[in-house]
């Protein structure tokens, strides 16, 4: 089977699985599970944004949470002021994208790279955290939206069908929208990476000097990648603000930023399906550990219900045992298995192989 056919089969498998999930999940699961699934989809979109910026663009962004948070806050503030969600939705994508472009111009045209880039992005998100966190007083408001400081903005109105403010999206609608947008983001990025632009981006990642000598301006390509990543993170932020109807400054925090990087590492860099699986796995794990409390038994049971301890041990073990991330490792395993079973010409490979 040719690589191209493999890629197509993989894409088809992702599409089929995604569509089936989109249509069937609400029928199979209870509402609370649907709510969990929705947040997994939203976080997957966020993971994809860093998957693009870092995995393909080679830009180690330690502050992807900045764009996520900006998206969420933009939506919240605009929605409280306007009351109809079309413009807030678009703003929540455009503003983080614009901010990313500005920051990208500042960094890439200053020839900043590598870990220095990571520190600047981290610093930016910490500045946002500190600033927003200190807006608890009633004097801090944008229009009629109070920023609320540490407590954040509660009771954010949900998205509505464009032009009809009374037709607000319910929980199930949120699930459909998030899943559809995740699929759209995934396939959009696949198309982008398969285009000329995408190839140059990867070329810049592999060897910036060579790309430059070939006549491409690496700064421009990095800037564009970074801005697209910002837009996608903003979209995720907007959905997140909808999902829980609240947003608070911890969205800009160090933990949030680190989490996004961890999703990408766990899933596998240089793939798109990897960050998605990584984010779902980690979100599931965090939720499960938190729900796993034993009360007052003491001893070993207490150890197991100690969420950070268990999560930390799992992460350490993961780095040592699965150094390349879930998807590349699984793809390798599946590839080896396939080769052993060959010849079986028409067997569709596991979706991961698509990467």
């Amino acid at each position: 089977m040719s690589a191209r056919a493999g890629t197509l089969a993989g894409l088809a498998a992702v599409a089929a699985f995604g569509l089936a999930f989109l249509l069937l999940a609400p029928h199979w699961v209870e509402l609370d599970t649907l709510l969990d699934l929705t947040v997994y989809m939203i976080m997957s979109i966020l993971a994809l944004s860093l998957g693009l910026v870092w995995g393909y663009g080679g830009i180690l962004c330690f502050g992807q949470a900045a764009f996520f948070g900006l998206g969420a806050y933009t939506y919240a503030v605009a929605m409280v002021n306007i009351g109809e969600s079309t413009l807030p939705f678009l703003l929540a994508i455009a503003l983080p994208a614009g901010f990313a472009a500005l920051l990208g111009y500042f960094m890439f045209y200053g020839r900043i790279s590598d870990v220095y880039l990571g520190v600047i992005t981290l610093t930016v998100t910490l500045i946002l955290f500190n600033t927003v966190n200190s807006t608890a007083g009633p004097e801090y408001h944008i229009g009629s939206a109070r920023l609320g400081g540490f407590n954040g903005i509660p009771s954010i109105p949900p998205l509505n069908i464009p032009g009809r403010p009374e037709a607000a999206l319910d929980l199930e609608g949120m699930f459909y929208l998030s899943t559809a947008l995740l699929l759209a983001t995934y396939f959009g990025l696949r198309a982008l990476l398969a285009s000329r632009f995408g190839r140059v981006v990867v070329g810049v990642r592999e060897n910036e000097r060579r790309a430059e000598l070939l006549g491409y301006d690496p700064r421009l390509y990095k800037l564009a990648t970074f801005a697209i990543g910002g837009a996608i993170a903003g979209l995720a932020g907007c959905l997140f603000a909808n999902w829980g109807a609240f947003v608070s400054p911890t969205i800009f925090g160090l933990a949030q930023s680190a989490q996004i990087i961890i999703w990408v590492i766990v899933g596998g860099r240089g793939t798109l399906i990897g960050p998605i699986l990584g984010s779902i796995a980690m979100e599931w794990l965090t939720t499960t550990l938190g729900a796993n409390q034993t009360t007052g038994t003491g001893g070993l049971a207490d150890l197991w219900s100690n969420a950070p301890l268990v999560l930390g041990a799992i992460l350490i073990g993961f780095v040592l045992l699965v150094p390349r991330g879930l998807v590349p490792t699984l793809a390798d395993g599946a590839g080896r298995l396939l080769r052993r079973r060959l010849p079986a010409p028409a067997a569709a490979p596991a979706p991961e192989v698509a990467e």
Partner: protein, 411 residues
């Protein structure tokens, strides 16, 4: 077509939730099945200093009830969730508790932020909610009961007491969020009403640990005393640096938050002796109920248990207020329990008599002023049966049962 199906699904979900709450066919409603109670408190992350004692108290209360034969002849099962100081998990766990576990009541939330995250969720899924933390006041929601003290119950007593003792010039420091902002306004109001002057109000984000410049500023302002509403582990360093600069013996301090996170045990006596605080509960309260309670609690968790905190007692009392209402209603159905609570139910708790105030869903309870002395809190004065008059000024759920918001009380 799609709209119809969605509408149907929503209807089905609502019906399911309704059935669960009203004792339909769900598992939790079988006559012998345990009654489920959810706890959503941070057991890890920065807020665990508050969450752990609360969950211990709830565990203790549930065990106590079960030892006495449970409620309505059924055992009580406590489901404990740890949101890890992460707001996103509050949403998820509140939904799980309401829809998957179909619990009879949720006790949970520590910061006001977490309460405002889970309150709409539990409203939406018709699950009764108890918030057991002292807070800034003003929440008005028929689905929710607040057993913690509010500023009108504590600040109103603490400020005049401290002013009479030390003087009229006050410097206010507070944590930079909703609680700190609102509480400092109450402090200012009571200082002015008592003929004093607030020289400055400074706010600190929860992660500040270096207070050097602030301490110099306070020294320059020379107040008669400092009123503190600092919150969390990082802020403990203020008291430490304050004492290290030799200020504890020079400018005294009163606080609306100190000791709630066991600060008086973490710090040495030289760092915090003499501080005045005002709460509903102190472990050293002298009454029969409390002495029996403390003895039993120590038997369960060990005599070296650091301290039974204000928040822990709020949670314990919250559980028993709910349990008494269940007994009275002879049902765990949400509306029946709310109606039973709204009769102004009261319990004889370790902190004294605690009564639900029907119009506000807050509590009428005793408050006490105490002084920190050698890692203990020594009660100096008692103020019996204080009403939540701040919230009462804006909220009347008997007149407006559909009211559902947190008021910012005009001060």
């Amino acid at each position: 077509m799609k709209v119809n199906r969605r509408a149907f699904l929503n209807g089905a979900a609502a019906t399911a939730a309704g059935l669960a709450a009203s004792g339909g066919f769900s598992a939790s409603a079988r006559a012998d099945a345990p009654i489920k109670v959810a706890s959503i408190h941070d057991l890890s992350g920065g807020l665990d200093i508050y969450g752990k004692p609360m969950v211990d108290a709830l565990t203790f209360a549930v065990e106590e009830a079960n030892a006495a034969g449970g409620l309505l002849g059924r055992k009580i099962e406590l489901l404990s969730y740890d949101p890890q100081s992460n707001m996103q998990l509050y949403t998820q766990f509140a939904t799980q508790a309401a829809l998957k576990d179909k619990v009879a009541v949720v006790h949970g939330g520590i910061t006001s932020a977490s309460r405002e995250v889970i309150r709409p969720v539990l409203d939406r899924f018709k699950t009764l909610y108890f918030y057991n933390t002292q807070y800034e006041g003003g929440v008005c929601d028929r689905d929710q009961f607040d057993t913690g003290v509010t500023p009108a119950q504590t600040v109103e007593k603490l400020v005049p007491y401290a002013m009479k003792k030390w003087g009229k010039k006050v410097y206010v420091i507070a944590a930079d969020y909703n609680y700190g902002q609102i509480t400092s306004q109450w402090v200012k109001k009571y200082v002015q009403e008592n003929g004093g002057e607030v020289v400055a109000i400074d706010f600190f984000p929860l992660d500040v640990t270096n207070f050097g410049p602030t301490i110099s500023k306070i020294q320059a302002a020379k107040p008669d005393f400092v009123s503190s509403a600092l919150v969390g582990g990082a802020h403990i360093s203020f008291y430490r640096q304050w004492a290290a600069a030799g200020m504890r013996t020079r400018i005294p301090m009163a606080s609306t938050t100190f000791a709630v996170g066991n600060e008086h045990i973490v710090l040495s006596p030289e760092e915090c002796n003499g501080m005045l605080v005002c709460y509903n509960y102190f472990q050293g309260l002298k009454n029969k109920t409390n002495e029996a309670f403390v003895a039993k609690f120590h038997k369960r968790f060990g005599a070296d248990y650091p301290n039974i905190t204000e928040l822990a007692m709020g949670t314990y009392q919250g559980f028993w207020l709910w349990a008494s209402a269940v007994k009275k209603a002879k049902s765990v159905d949400r509306m029946k329990v709310i109606e039973a609570l709204e009769t102004g139910i009261s319990i004889d708790a370790p902190s004294g008599k605690v009564t639900i105030d029907p119009p506000t869903h807050h509590c009428i309870l005793d408050v006490h002023i105490a002084e920190v002395k050698d890692k203990n809190l020594v009660v100096l004065e008692n103020f019996p049966q204080q009403k939540p008059s701040d919230t009462a000024a804006v909220c009347n759920l008997i007149k407006n049962p559909t009211d559902n918001q947190q008021y910012v009380i005009k001060i």
